[in-house]
């Protein structure tokens, strides 16, 4: 019955909280969304998928009123509308939970939820009682009564902040909630919690646009899925009618046969050795060997000291004890510049903050770690810089207008390729990759995995840090497990199973036991 009603409503185009018809949008002559139609029914979770650069971000920004379409129309409850600003989209009941959460850290939870629509008393002052009561009520409805409404947001975790953003959307009476990769930065238990909140919202009749790369979530949550490819609609289907391979091939336009490429060649000599290395008390007693041609996986929970170990090898936080040997010779690494000159490259976990200078162009970013090589006499050789960037764009298949496009305009996967290109241009022998595929779609992910295998096959030694256990197990020739700032386990490829590695990762050690 209900389904029939919705079907009927869809037929006349009425009562749909939002419907897009034939939307097109181009930037600087490049069409990023091409005649895409998309609609939301009340009380459904509609997954929006596609590779990075497929046009998902642009489409949701159009719905949120941040961009205006070049062609096509937007209908809200069957009436054609035009959002001149995000404010107008809000007024039409469309709210967004952004990837980078837009809260005010110095304000309390309750203040953040009601910012811009604070309850007022008859005198026109803020009605604190009403605001706090309604904030508590909203959080209760989201199964988040554990959040202290008087706490400042600055102290809260990403997962908690996200719940506040959702509460804020509800406070605005949102009928459509756009969630842009909501689980990208969440720990596993927060993911479960978020999914239960999404189910509650669905029951309340909120329509949820769910953008994610994670297949398990899509199958667990979504009612329908729309896939974009190169700005075009690749298909829209009810979730029960699709499976994972279908979705992947819809996204990439071809089928990806193997997820993880097989090892080529054999391990060579030891190139990097750590002997009892420590940085203050953050990481302690780190000893391991890395060989040429090997991919060594570094597993562990967030905060277990994996990144800190990488930063110590790379000279950002120089070792305070122990010895680092390169080719068997002791090396002192006190700065990233020294590490680079020793043939070490580090692709950091936080692309936007550590990896790239986003306002600058692709060529400038690639040149930055290679200035010495790209300088002739006293001057930077602009022709060489451009040639280097053009080579990288071709080699890594970076989707860009050209070497002079600012990096911030690229999609996540392409930005990651720029970081990789920058570091591979330094001709490293040791490559440290921290979360190499975080927030990247399946197609780009497979490309990066293949590239890693190829580099290892050519004799490069790769140290890979990843929070995705399947990635660690699939890519690594050997796995080290960190816990509490120490290495607590080592597994060969045969013995590295999800259970074995997972157990060591999550076991709680006291300092003494770990030592």
């Amino acid at each position: 019955m209900r389904a029939d009603e919705i079907g009927a409503a869809a037929a006349v185009g009425a009562a749909l909280p939002i419907e897009l018809r034939g939307i097109s949008k181009s930037f600087a002559g490049i069409t990023v969304v091409n005649s895409v139609s998309f609609d939301m029914r009340p009380g459904e979770v509609h997954a929006l998928m596609g590779e990075n650069g497929a046009g998902k971000s642009t489409l949701i920004k159009i719905m949120a009123g941040l961009y205006q379409p070049d062609a096509g129309e937007i209908l809200v409850n069957g009436n054609a509308v035009r959002f001149a600003s995000p404010k107008e989209a809000h007024a039409a009941g469309i709210a967004t939970v952004h990837q980078e959460l837009l809260l005010f850290p110095e304000l309390t939870v309750a203040e953040n939820i009601f910012l811009g629509q604070t309850p007022k008393t008859a005198l026109g002052t803020i009605d604190w009682t009403a605001m706090r009561r309604r904030a508590r009520q909203l959080l209760e409805e989201l199964d988040s009564g554990d959040l202290d409404i008087d706490q400042k947001v600055v102290h809260l975790s990403v997962g908690n902040r996200q719940r506040i953003e959702i509460a804020r959307a509800l406070a605005q009476d949102a009928r459509v909630l756009i969630m842009d990769e909501p689980t990208a930065a969440l720990a596993e238990q927060d993911v479960q919690r978020l999914m239960s909140i999404v189910r509650r919202l669905r029951k309340r009749g909120v329509a949820i646009v769910y953008v994610s790369h994670r297949m398990p979530e899509i199958f667990a949550l979504a009612d329908r899925v729309t896939v974009l490819r190169d700005g075009n609609l690749a298909g829209a289907k009810p979730v029960p009618e699709v499976d994972e391979p279908t979705l992947v091939s819809m996204m990439v336009g071809r089928s990806i046969d193997r997820l993880y490429p097989a090892k080529q060649g054999k391990d060579g000599d030891t190139i990097l050795e750590l002997a009892g290395v420590a940085h203050r008390s953050v990481v302690q007693d780190i000893s391991f060997k890395l060989h040429r041609g090997e991919i060594l996986g570094l597993a562990g929970l967030v905060g277990s000291g994996r990144t800190e170990t990488a930063l110590t090898i790379f000279g950002v936080t120089p070792a305070t004890a122990g010895q680092i040997l390169i080719d068997g010779k002791p090396a002192i690494i006190a700065s990233p510049g020294q590490a680079r000159d020793l043939g070490i490259a580090y692709v950091p976990e936080d692309r936007a903050h550590q990896g790239l200078i986003r306002p600058q162009t692709i060529e400038d970013n690639i040149a930055l770690a290679n200035l010495r090589r790209l300088t002739r006499g006293l001057f930077v050789d602009a022709a060489k810089v451009a040639a280097e960037a053009r080579g990288a764009i071709a080699r890594f298949g970076i989707r860009a207008r050209g070497p002079e496009q600012p990096v911030r305009q690229l999609s996540g996967g392409n930005q990651q390729k720029v970081v990789l290109a920058k570091w591979l241009a330094t001709n490293p022998r040791i490559l440290i990759m921290d979360e190499p595929t975080r927030g990247i779609d399946v197609g780009a992910k497979a490309e990066i995995h293949q590239l890693m295998r190829k580099l290892a096959g050519e004799g490069m030694a790769i140290l890979m840090i990843s929070s995705e256990l399947p990635e660690v197990l699939g890519m690594s020739d050997r796995v080290l497990v960190m816990n509490g700032g120490r290495i607590v386990g080592q597994f060969d490829k045969e013995h590295a199973t999800a259970e074995a590695v997972g157990t060591v990762m999550t076991r709680s050690y006291t300092r003494e036991q770990a030592a």
Partner: protein, 314 residues
């Protein structure tokens, strides 16, 4: 394409400068004469030298408020070294400039070693250096310099004021360093994203240390020219000069948040301000009126810049 983008603000500024010149020339027939223009160039040199280094400072996302005080301190030291300590004048000049440069180095050290925000660090040294200058001078001025010393501030080479040559050469060197060298790249990278610059192997702290030291050096050089031009040394010399320099840099399109800006822009900003000051004074506008006009031009230039920024999109 990059060049087109980079020069957009500078093009507007150049057009604005030309228009201002034409208007001012029509208001007073004394304005657009070789003699007046060269004389204005003479007056512009001190702020100009400081603005060049200030461009680097602001491109890294920093600020140097102490330059006016460094100028004052260097001037006083010059006088004291020569008159009170009896050093030969060339040695006094050199030593005073070393001290001024060292004052800039100290700024850099405070900022890089102790991670003090540049605004706070140089606000403190603004007071510190000015206090030192006043303490050392004991409110006495130094006069009676030998005739040859006045060449720096009053002499001419090929009919052009000596300090205008210095400013011209310094501008060319600064433009080349910022625009074409690895050091320039490091400067922009530091201002745009310091963490990413460091993670790319750029020696961020070394670059900053050099830049604040150069800022001290430029202020010291300006001090020598200043003393030579006005033939006397007083402890309040250069008060407020930092704001004139910052105005020229910002008017020239350098982002106060760092990562963006050019020497050509700063040079244009400098010329526009000096032309307005002089031209309006010649046209009978009172001093207060001139400041108001400069303020309005600055706001206008920033609004236009912001407008282009938005259109550029992202």
């Amino acid at each position: 394409m990059t060049a087109a983008k980079l020069f957009r603000h500078e093009t507007i500024l150049a057009a604005l400068t030309v228009i201002a010149m034409i208007v001012l020339a029509s208001l007073s027939d004394k304005f657009f004469t070789a003699e007046n223009l060269l004389n204005q160039g003479r007056l512009m040199a001190e702020v100009g030298l400081i603005s060049l280094a200030m461009t680097f400072v602001i491109v890294t996302g920093g600020i140097d408020l102490s330059v006016g005080s460094i100028l004052g301190l260097t001037a006083i030291l010059l006088g004291v070294f020569w008159k009170n300590l009896g050093l030969p004048l060339p040695a006094a000049i050199l030593l005073a400039m070393v001290c001024g440069t060292f004052a800039g180095f100290v700024n850099g050290l405070i900022i890089t070693r102790f991670s003090v925000p540049p605004l706070i660090a140089t606000l403190a040294t603004l007071a510190l250096y000015r206090g030192l200058a006043e303490g050392i001078s004991e409110a006495r001025s130094v006069r009676g310099y030998p005739e040859w010393f006045f060449f720096f501030g009053q002499g001419e080479v090929l009919g052009v004021p000596f300090q205008l040559w210095v400013l011209g050469i310094a501008t060319a060197i600064a433009a080349v360093i910022l625009g074409l060298t690895p050091f320039g790249r490091a400067t922009y990278a530091t201002g745009a994203n310091e963490v990413a610059a460091r993670f790319s192997g750029i020696r961020v702290n070394a670059a900053k240390l050099w830049i604040y030291t150069a800022s001290g050096f430029c202020a010291a050089l300006a001090a020598v020219i200043f003393v030579s031009r006005v033939t006397t040394t007083r402890s309040d010399m250069g008060t407020g000069l930092e704001l004139d320099a910052i105005t020229a840099v910002v008017l020239g399109g350098t982002s106060i948040f760092g990562g963006r800006g050019t020497i050509i822009g700063t040079a244009l900003g400098l010329i526009l301000i000096q032309a307005l000051k002089n031209g309006l004074a010649l046209s009978g506008v009172k001093g207060d009126g001139t400041i108001v006009v400069i303020g309005l031009v600055l706001i206008g230039a920033i609004l236009v810049g912001a407008l282009f920024d938005r259109n550029r999109g992202g």
